[in-house]
Assembly symmetry: C2
Homo-oligomer: 156 residues x 2
DNA sequence: TCTTGTCTTGTTATGTTATAACGTTCATTC
DNA sequence: GAATGAACGTTATAACATAACAAGACAAGA
């Protein structure tokens, strides 16, 4: 089924936070992973923000909530969430976003509005890269697909 | 004509350096841009390296050659070269590579070997992103397409 | 010619992002 | 209850990047 990119359109935000948390809980329970308080809170922060946040911004929130206030605290929680697909890193922004499709094993692509900073997660459907890689014998393990431009609301 | 990705295969390296420099010279002459000594040398360094280099590595080389040794010296030269398409930035690596197709106005894609660090430039042929963007009303201005994996020489 | 403006380079200083390395705690296992 | 391993916190530092200012080169126009 076609996936409608979210991020630029309004939606049931409380619902999508709850959904994101539940997906993470279920996944961790199923796989025996520890969704500890820092990790849980980190994911909540990103889900609530519903936009890309730098690690230090996340860290500031965490420390407000009584967690440590040193960089590794945030980076480790983010790494855990990223490793298991609950959070994606946006290379272009050196920032992190909560995954819009938790649970699905996917290769995300992003659209980044250079005006308002919002980020929408989309679907990657085999780019020319795949063909190019095959041709040259390169084995792809991960891809970074990020488009920068103007979202519908920021166009003149 | 199909573009064969370079970077993982052997080739006439001296030739490609000369070709890269000539392309930049011609382009700058045509457009009235100043290919000053630092800028020229920066491009040479990247062409010779024939792989991604961090700004500080470039800077170290520049300062060996008698140019300034403060970060802005390198970042400015790199920005100029990037603006005019002689150099690309690899977001994933926070690094820069000389363009493999100088002169062509293109939207590059890269394959990055996580083992040897080599980077090959490839061609982007409309990813799923284009469709997704149109659907959501997003206007793409620039794209970052980077694949990480293993190059032919680094596979077991 | 002089002056004005633009472009380039260099500097100082600082800001931002990220990780290595070590100690402590706590739950689990033997 | 000792050993193990995972998570968290800390200190310290590394790596990447830019703002803001001064000085020189050079061309255009008064």
């Amino acid at each position: 089924m076609p996936y409608k990119p979210t991020g630029f359109s309004s939606h049931d935000h409380d619902g999508c936070i709850a959904q994101g948390m539940q997906a993470a809980e279920a996944f961790c329970a199923a796989k025996g992973l520890q969704l500890t308080p820092v990790r849980r809170r980190t994911l909540e922060i990103l889900l609530q923000a519903h936009e890309a946040m730098g690690a230090y911004d996340v860290l500031a929130r965490l420390s407000q909530d009584g967690f440590g206030d040193k960089p590794p605290v945030a980076y480790r929680a983010l790494a855990f969430l990223q490793d298991h697909g609950f959070v994606h890193r946006i290379e272009r922004l050196n920032a992190f976003v909560a995954c819009a499709r938790p649970g699905a094993d996917h290769d995300p692509a992003f659209m980044i509005c250079r005006s308002c900073g919002k980020v929408a997660e989309s679907e990657l459907s085999g780019s020319g890269l795949t063909a190019s890689a095959r041709e040259s014998g390169f084995v792809i393990e991960q891809t970074v697909i990020e488009a920068e431009g103007l979202c519908p609301g920021c166009q003149p």
